[in-house]
Amino acid sequence: MEYVSPEGLRLDGRRFNEMRQIVAEIGVVSKADGSAVFEMGNTKVIAAVYGPREIQNKSQQLKHDRALVLCEYSMAQFSTGDRRRQKQDRRTTELSLVIRQTMEACILTELMPHSQIDIFLQVLQADGGTRSACINAATLALADAGIPMRDLAVSCSAGYLNSTPLLDLNYVEDSAGGADVTVGILPKTDKMDAKLPMETFETVFALASEGCKAIAERIREVLEENTKQLEYRRAA
């Protein structure tokens, strides 16, 4: 199958180094301490953060000098168009763990001992790159909750199809079976599905990193905009 035409256009009209449209919004769940909706094209993820709060299940606490980060990832049953079984499958568990580890590395947990932070993520609409969208949404929600972080953890995927590195794969490109890397910047979380030779991997990785930087910029803009709003409201 031809994923990139000889004219250099992908199936949806993007070029190899172009991301899908990003839409981000903060404060969508008023009950939560922090929340955000993050969209990359047709992929849409909602994140809600509770905490830092008292540890609810003491037995889970392993280290007393830092906060406990918990993460729950799920996909809405309507997210893919056909009916999904809700069961906690292996993919879901793995994703929860990856996101949790990424966010744990990013949050300054040692500042909040004896407390826990819950991150809830739900995919509302899936069209490839949900892993990245989740990390980005979680970052926004954490920032919204005012949880101290080392930096903005952002993520973007890139793949390699038709001998071309491609940024931000959508579902069709993702399911083509080529290699794809999800890169999270700051604490590195890269994850690969298929094998790539080292040189190609480096170009794909570099492309994904560029994508991450662009996303970080966009997230910063959203946060700054939000801060301005807060400032304005306080003044009012």
């Binding site: 035409s5 004219e7 949806d12 449209q21 001998s163 959508n170 094998k195 790539l196 030779p197």
Partner: protein
């Protein structure tokens, strides 16, 4: 700008699913005209102020015309490309090739993502209408965009589209009108014929009454076929027409598990060889009746012709059942299911080589004439074409493409594509052979030639100092090849070691040092797959400087090589194996004859000769061991021509003689291939390229067993070892008897094939003929691409290079292996066809008597094999008209044909005297006729 595309799609499970896809509309897509002021013209292609935009139907049907250089300055819209891709892959590849050809001015305009030409699907609009509208919108955009600077013309054969375009203010033309306006009448011949549904007027001037009749049954609509396949009443498969009888075809269907026979043109229902068809089984009681019918119909065309003796089951005709059943014992043989075609799922139409059926010129010259085209390939029916240059074409070989075949006409209609040359001309006929077998014989492009190292090339100091390359120039290396061989890809050495063992080395030309993955040179070689050897010329896989000079391991020059070096005990046991890149200097390029003469001449005691003798001793032991393991010594009827150096006409034909020296070289090459196969599979268990030879099933060996039984010979076919042993035992008083049996055995087996190790399980890797669990091709990288691939694998396994990315991609690897098999087979067919052609030329002025052996009994004669010339053909006992007339009857059990009064009989493997002569029963199709003396 962001748009969403919403559509419904049927999933593999059969459910309907709504799909939503994003479409990003762009403002950086340029019109591609140099004259444009507002666009970026760096990638522009269109220089003329007259621009044409093509509709899908024009691209699909008139691709031959578009390839003509008179058609230029064309905008190809992306929606058109998409639709063409879905409808016909081969046309898509051709139009893509046109778009990327720098000599043509074809520009691809991605209208589907351009912000001004994007067309949102309307409610209740069919996909076809939507595309037509998109084409009109894009044309209109071009007209407005380029304004006064250029004239834009939409070329469409869709009447409705043309009408709407004119209404919207677009200038539109049909392709016929456009071609007429160019003013080159020759081009009109290239136009594809419109189908009968498109023109109803035309029928009026065709007064033949038979034309009006419906000749064929209707093809079922696609929806019905899909439903029928689902319910199991229809079966899907690829139609293969019998090479020896165009009225008989087979469909191998997975759902039935055995081959279904289709008799007669009306049951084939307009399907061509290679088409994917849906078939319906005929009721069991019709299975016999259909057969009688097929024989009657056969009279219309000619019968079997003389061919070269086939080499494997793949080329052999499968007509055994037909011959048996006409012989009378209907109950003895289970009838094979027969069926008829109800629809064609995918056409395999391409262009065909042949000539026009002779006809008188129509009165007024210059007008259009209807002519019948007869293809060289007998599996293809005659094709009706219209031409305006009949008198030029009558004595030419031409290429014709098929356009359509409707129910009213007995023959498909097509159009003329290009001439090849005069009929009977050796050059022309050779070109026909190449085209028929899909061999690319065009000269290498400049991009490919640019990849060659600068000439004159010699081993550089960097090569010498390269740590992965071992300097083996001190070794006494020599090569043994056929006389006059210029592409020497293997050389050998053999030295005695102090401990009594031998060091034996096989040095193979280091082609991968010059052919790097991903370069145009590599792509071209991969596409060609193999060099093709014809009687009078060679079609190279790699450009000549590489083939004959840089890579060729010629005598007395330093060359780069990839070496396999063994330490062998005097009993030819391999003690150790190592692989290395090397530099060698061959000291002698011997021919087989020279090598043999040296070995036989006991006076010679020079080092080369002693080395040769040592190697020969080792080779003999290895060969014996291989035979003990069960390797088959198969025979084929290879012939050798002596060609006149001036006229290139064949002077003499004879069987190819195999000497001990041939076997010696072969033995070491086999050993090298096996060693390499082990090494690469060990390192890359899922992506190695290997070669396997499937074990023949008992069914396939049936004809051999029947023949053997008839002459009182029992063959044990339980294993290759058992077969090899019983073949050894089969010696009669006739010195040629054993070879004949071996030839028959070879013919029952399929050919060996390349495959990717990840696609099969290890027991399937087995090579039956060589009785080797693993085998690959490593030793001829100059002339086979598979070997280039294996060189890369071996180099990667030694850590010399990294493995190219192709090897990560299993489907691509499989497709490479498939292409290699296809090319390899075509190359073989082409060389056979070339030999056949030269045989015909040879016998044209030399009617000859020869001794022949009967190999198969038919109801009205028998098939003979002429060992001296390696040809095979029918001898008729009854005259052609009175077929099946009862003078003769066939004794099936004894494989005998006996005259009714018992006075004369011929049995299988009997020696007969025949007379061979070239006759031309049908014009332009000369053939060799064999008659009994």
């Amino acid at each position: 700008m962001l748009q969403s595309k919403v559509f419904n799609k049927k999933t593999r499970g059969g459910r309907i699913q709504k799909q939503v896809r994003e479409v990003y509309l762009r403002d950086d897509i340029y019109c591609g005209a140099f004259a444009c002021k507002s666009c970026d013209t760096s990638a522009a292609r269109l220089s003329s102020p007259k621009i044409i935009v093509l509709d899908t139907n024009v691209v699909l049907h008139q691709i031959d015309l578009l390839e003509n250089q008179a058609i230029d300055n064309v905008v190809v819209l992306s929606v058109v490309l998409d639709e063409v891709k879905n409808r016909n892959r081969s046309v898509y590849n051709r139009i893509r090739a046109l778009c990327s050809n720098p000599a043509k001015q074809f520009y691809v305009f991605s209208n589907h993502v351009h912000k001004d030409t994007y067309v949102q699907a309307m409610e209740r609009e069919s996909a076809n209408d939507h595309n037509d509208r998109a084409i009109r919108v894009a044309t209109l955009w071009y007209q407005k965009h380029l304004g006064g600077t250029s004239q834009v013309l939409l070329v469409t054969n869709d009447r409705e589209n043309k009408r709407k375009a004119t209404e919207e203010g677009i200038s539109a033309e049909t392709i016929e009108a456009y071609v007429k306006s160019i003013g080159q009448p020759d081009l009109l011949d290239l136009l594809a014929q419109p189908t009968a549904e498109d023109i109803t007027m035309e029928d009026a001037d065709d007064s033949r009454p038979s034309k009006r009749k419906l000749v064929y049954l209707e093809h079922k609509p696609m929806s019905e076929i899909t439903a029928g396949l689902h319910r199991g009443i229809y079966h899907q498969g690829k139609l293969r027409v019998n090479r020896f009888n165009p009225f008989e075809a087979y469909v191998g269907s997975e759902s039935i598990g055995e081959e279904i026979i289709i008799y007669g043109r009306s049951n084939m229902n307009r399907a061509f060889d290679g088409d994917i068809v849906a078939i319906e089984l005929l009721p069991r009681d019709q299975w016999q009746e259909e057969k009688a019918l097929s024989i009657a119909e056969e009279d219309e065309d000619e019968d079997d012709t003389v061919h070269l003796a086939p080499n494997s089951a793949d080329d052999a005709p499968r007509i055994s059942s037909l011959a048996q059943e006409t012989s009378g014992d209907k109950n003895a043989v289970p009838a094979r299911p027969s069926g008829r075609v109800v629809g064609v799922i995918r056409r395999n139409w391409h262009s065909y080589c042949g000539s026009l059926e002779p006809m008188s010129l129509p009165a007024g010259s210059g007008g259009t004439a209807h002519a019948l085209f007869v293809s060289k390939d007998r599996r293809i029916p005659k094709i009706r074409i219209n031409t305006r240059q009949l008198q030029n074409l009558l004595n030419m070989r031409i290429v014709v493409a098929v356009d359509s075949w409707d129910r009213q006409s007995r023959y498909p209609s097509g159009h003329y594509v290009r001439p090849i040359g005069k009929i009977g001309d050796r050059e022309t006929e050779t070109e026909v052979v190449l085209i028929e077998n899909d061999v690319d014989y065009s000269p290498f492009s400049s991009q490919v030639l640019a990849c060659l190292p600068p000439l004159p090339w010699s081993v550089s100091s960097e090569d010498v100092s390269n740590p992965v390359r071992q300097d083996l120039r001190h070794l006494l290396v020599f090569s043994v090849d056929p006389p006059g061989c210029k592409d020497i890809d293997d050389a050998l050495h053999c030295t005695s070691l102090p401990n009594g063992n031998f060091e034996v080395g096989v040095h193979i030309a280091d082609v991968t040092n010059f052919v790097h993955p991903g370069t145009p040179l590599d792509d071209e070689a991969s596409k060609r797959g193999t060099s093709v050897y014809l009687v009078d010329r060679r079609i190279d896989m790699l450009p000549k400087p590489l083939t004959e000079d840089i890579c060729s391991l010629r005598a007395d020059v330093e060359r780069l090589a990839f070496s396999v070096i063994w330490e062998m005990s005097p009993e030819a046991e391999i003690i150790s194996t190592r692989f290395t890149k090397s530099i060698i200097k061959s000291s002698a390029a011997l021919s087989y004859v020279e090598a043999q003469a040296r070995m036989d001449d006991s006076r010679l005691t020079d080092t080369v000769t002693t080395d040769l003798r040592n190697m020969n001793t080792l080779a003999k032991i290895m060969r014996q061991r291989r035979i003990d393991r069960g390797a088959l010594t198969l025979a084929s009827a290879e012939v050798k021509f002596q060609i006149d150096t001036e006229t290139h006409d064949p002077l003499d034909i004879g069987m190819y003689q195999i000497r001990e020296a041939n076997q010696m070289v072969e033995e070491f090459m086999l050993a090298a291939n096996v060693s390499v196969a082990e090494q690469i599979l060990n390192q890359f268990s899922s992506c190695s390229l290997l070669r396997r030879h499937p074990t023949p099933t008992r069914e396939m060996l049936e004809p051999l067993l029947r023949t053997a039984a008839a002459i009182g010979l029992t063959l044990d076919v339980s294993s290759s070892k058992a077969l090899a042993d019983s073949l050894d035992r089969a010696v009669g008083e006739d010195p040629y008897f054993n070879k004949l049996i071996r030839i028959l055995a070879t013919r029952c087996m399929t050919q060996a094939v390349y495959f990717c190790s990840g696609d099969l399980t290890p027991p399937e890797y087995h090579h039956y003929g060589l009785a080797a669990p693993l085998y690959t091709h490593f030793t001829s990288p100059i002339r086979r691409y598979a070997d280039v691939f294996v060189h890369r694998l071996l180099a990667a396994s030694l850590g010399i290079y990294k493995l190219p990315t192709v090897f990560q991609d299993r489907p691509q690897l499989t497709s490479v292996a498939d292409n290699l098999n296809y090319r390899h087979r075509n190359a073989q067919m082409a060389s056979r066809a070339s030999v056949e052609l030269h045989t015909l030329i040879y016998f044209r002025n030399r009617p000859t008597d020869a001794e022949a052996r009967v190999v198969k009994i038919r109801s009205n004669g028998f098939i003979v094999f002429v060992p001296k010339y390696g040809i095979e053909g029918p001898v008729y006992l009854t005259a052609k008209g009175e077929k099946g007339a009862g003078d003769w009857y066939v004794d099936e059990e004894k494989q005998k044909i006996v005259k009714m009064d018992g006075s004369l009989s011929y049995s299988v493997l009997q020696t007969v005297k025949i007379h061979m002569e070239v006759v031309e029963p049908q014009p332009n199709r000369p053939k060799l006729q064999l008659t009994l003396l």
